[in-house]
């Protein structure tokens, strides 16, 4: 029987995926579990494993097409089978909700998002096992298959998986309907121990992996499944650090004027609105960048792209990891507008509602760890930008100043240390130094931005 292959939610938040590449062509034989295609979500490329077995009868969504979760991407079945009804159903689009499928559930989703691998036919039909209470006539022959495409699992298996840090998606369930049960977790842990044991032998590491590591009851090292976000962070920052030759310039900047600017502005506002240092930093950094266009560039291998617009990202720490939402065209926005953009972006970042266009394509980035009391640090460049500015805390310190008579004195000033990481492929040391000089000058006296 031909089965529709729907786009699955490969992460809890995924609503749509792009087919990056098909690993099979129409007519190929597909084994269950084979990587059918690669699906690009907003943050990563994931393998889509076939849930059904048979011939790939039709690729509905070619590589490059973007498909909503639940929509048809292919049909698997027996060679020569008639699949027109499946195709017709798919092209009919979402229908009005049927009364039985609940008010918020389009009927079509009901039908197509079930990852058909476990059809009733593959299971012993409604077992007439003795001892079954007759009252429960409607007991399904298989465990429920969830719309998310996540395999069913017993409560105990879920708890054990959580304790052991196992991603249940990595497991094949041996229970009815593919339910993952305790013995599947035990087997998986056993296989891990075996692998670790082999690895330890190969590397000549002394001390074998203790059996306790595979025991469900003993305390053990936890492996935490890597989220899509973390995979992205790891890949992008790894690439940046490996490929972009970083160099670092640091300056101490007197913040008195900026502090006064912010305080007087916020006090003058009577409606409770206030501006943050970050909004001021971004605006004034943008003003410095306009004088040094190389800072706002991207290395393209055979050429350097000088961006016409300054799209500045601000690194924001979330529980799940780092995101850097982008305020577009900072040079032409006022501080108030930047503040409003930031608030919106940060709020949505915290809710997990950032769209790709909210964080992609930063030409320059600011990372501010001042709130944690960090005095100074260096940051990894956030591609496609060529530079990132790392800001420490504003802290009062003794500073030597020379007055107009050439007299030195020690004064207490609120200082901030700003460290610029630059990609030497696009930015030379002198260019970065000139930029930092102007940046410091503008931050110490914002009026200089006007010249």
């Amino acid at each position: 029987m031909a089965v529709p292959v729907p786009m699955l939610a490969l992460s809890p938040t995924m609503t749509e995926g792009t087919i990056a590449a098909w690993k099979f062509k129409e007519g190929d034989e597909i084994k269950r579990g084979a990587v059918l295609c690669e699906v690009e979500t907003d943050k990563a490329v994931m393998d889509y494993e076939a849930g059904a077995q048979g011939t790939l009868l039709k690729i509905v969504a070619p590589a490059g097409s973007s498909v909503k979760v639940g929509d048809l991407i292919a049909v698997i079945g027996t060679k020569g089978e008639d699949i027109t009804s499946i195709l017709a159903q798919a092209s009919a689009g979402p229908q009005t909700p049927s009364p039985s499928s609940g008010p918020s559930q389009p009927a079509k989703v009901e039908e197509t998002t079930k990852p058909v691998p476990i059809s009733r036919e593959t299971l012993p039909a409604a077992r007439e096992a003795p001892g079954r209470a007759i009252i429960q006539e409607e007991r399904p022959a298989s465990a429920p298959v969830f719309q998310s495409g996540i395999a069913p699992s017993s409560p105990l298996a879920r708890k054990l998986a959580q304790q052991a840090g196992i991603d249940l998606r990595q497991l094949q369930g041996s229970g009815p309907g593919g339910r993952i049960v305790k013995r599947d977790i035990s087997r998986y842990l056993d296989s891990l121990t075996a692998v670790q044991g082999t690895a330890a032998q190969k590397s000549g590491v002394q001390g074998p992996v203790t059996p306790a590591a595979a025991s469900l009851n003993a305390p053990m090292d936890r492996s935490i499944p890597v989220s899509r976000l973390r995979q992205t962070i790891a890949r992008r920052l790894g690439e940046s650090m490996r490929e972009a030759p970083h160099f670092y310039l640091r300056m101490a900047i007197d913040m008195e004027h900026l502090i006064n600017l912010r305080t007087s502005y916020n006090q003058a506002r009577k409606d409770g609105f206030s501006i943050s240092f970050n909004a001021i930093f971004m605006k004034l950094a943008a003003m410095a960048i306009t004088k040094h266009p190389q800072i706002n560039s991207t290395w393209l291998g055979d050429r350097i792209l000088l961006h016409s617009q300054i799209d500045m990202a601000l690194a924001v720490a979330l529980e799940e990891g780092l995101v850097a939402p982008v305020v577009r065209d900072c040079a032409h926005k006022g501080i108030e507008e930047i503040e409003r953009d930031l608030r919106d972006l940060i709020a949505r970042a915290k809710d997990g509602n950032l769209k790709p266009e909210d964080y992609e394509g930063a030409t320059f980035t600011i990372s501010n760890l001042g709130a944690w009391g960090v005095e100074e640090f260096t940051a990894i460049i956030n591609p496609p930008g060529s530079a990132i500015l790392a800001l420490g805390a504003i802290k009062k310190e003794p500073v030597v100043r020379t007055d107009s008579q050439g007299q030195d004195s020690i004064v207490i000033r609120p200082m901030l240390r700003a460290t610029l990481s630059s990609d030497h492929r696009t930015i030379d040391g002198a260019v970065a130094a000139a930029f930092m000089k102007d940046l410091a000058a503008i931050w110490e006296d914002p009026a200089k931005a006007l010249f």
């Binding site: 001892g131 009252i135 017993s154 409560p155 105990l156 879920r158 708890k159 041996s174 229970g175």
Partner: protein, 326 residues
Amino acid sequence: MAIITYREALNRALDEEMARDPSVFLMGEEVAEYDGAYKVSKGLLAKYGPKRVIDTPITELGFTGIGVGAAQVGLRPVIEWMTHNFALLALDQVVNNAAKMRYMSGGRFKMPIVFRGPNGPAEFLAAQHSQSFASYWAHIPGLKVVAPAFPADAYGLLKSAIRDDDPVVVLEAEMLYGTSGEVPDEETLVPIGKANVLRTGSDVTLISFSKPVRYCLEAAAELDKEGISAEVIDMRSLRPLDMARVYQSIEKTNRAVVVDEAWPLASVGSHIAYAISHDRFDLLDAPVELVASHDVPMPYNHQLELEVQPGVKKIISAVKRVLYLE
């Protein structure tokens, strides 16, 4: 320790309690002159006389109500129902008077009464006289309910029931009266509300009460031959239920099969299965199985009447389901 029958164990408990406390008396159909329909009261009339061993007319609601009134004013009646099938006629006295008097009087009236008699399927008794009403009583707040499966528990629980100041329903079983077992020679009380682990095991917990407990033990012995280690818990009391003891076992086995010879809907067994699923959800590796009687009136045909009830084969099959072996 003497080996005596379930019937003799009940008789000994009645005898000892009547000797100990002159306010205890036995009342019911045929309990005196005939020594009881199932001979549980054998010899008691001769020993305690017609004022304390009283034959009643065939009027369940009437003599049950007289018992409730007697308990309310300080006596300790033991009401024998010839079977629980006939006790249906007395439901109102038990549910609305015995179970609630203490509550409704603000604790001023105690209700030290025992209702006892055989319950559950027997043999060749057909639809009207072969059925389990355990859930009818267990359903009612204010009652205590016990269902012993062995002579020692029948003895010890009936004694506890007679001494209890609340109304206690004792579910005996016709098929158990003739079964034998060890009963301590010294006077022993079995506490109400305590389950008994009859067999320890690590793979699955079998939970039952009354007659099917014996099937569970047989099933466990069979399973043992296949290398499956089953723990068997005899609930003994149905109200209150000793779920703590059950949970202790589930923590070890992660799987449960509940066996109840009543019908499946709203039974004591279905409640136990619900409680496990709810309270120990994260510990379960498989849905709790309920082995119940088929949802039909008891057939007269002997093959069919055996077929509709829980039995060893059905229990083994359920165990294999929760172990994902079937």
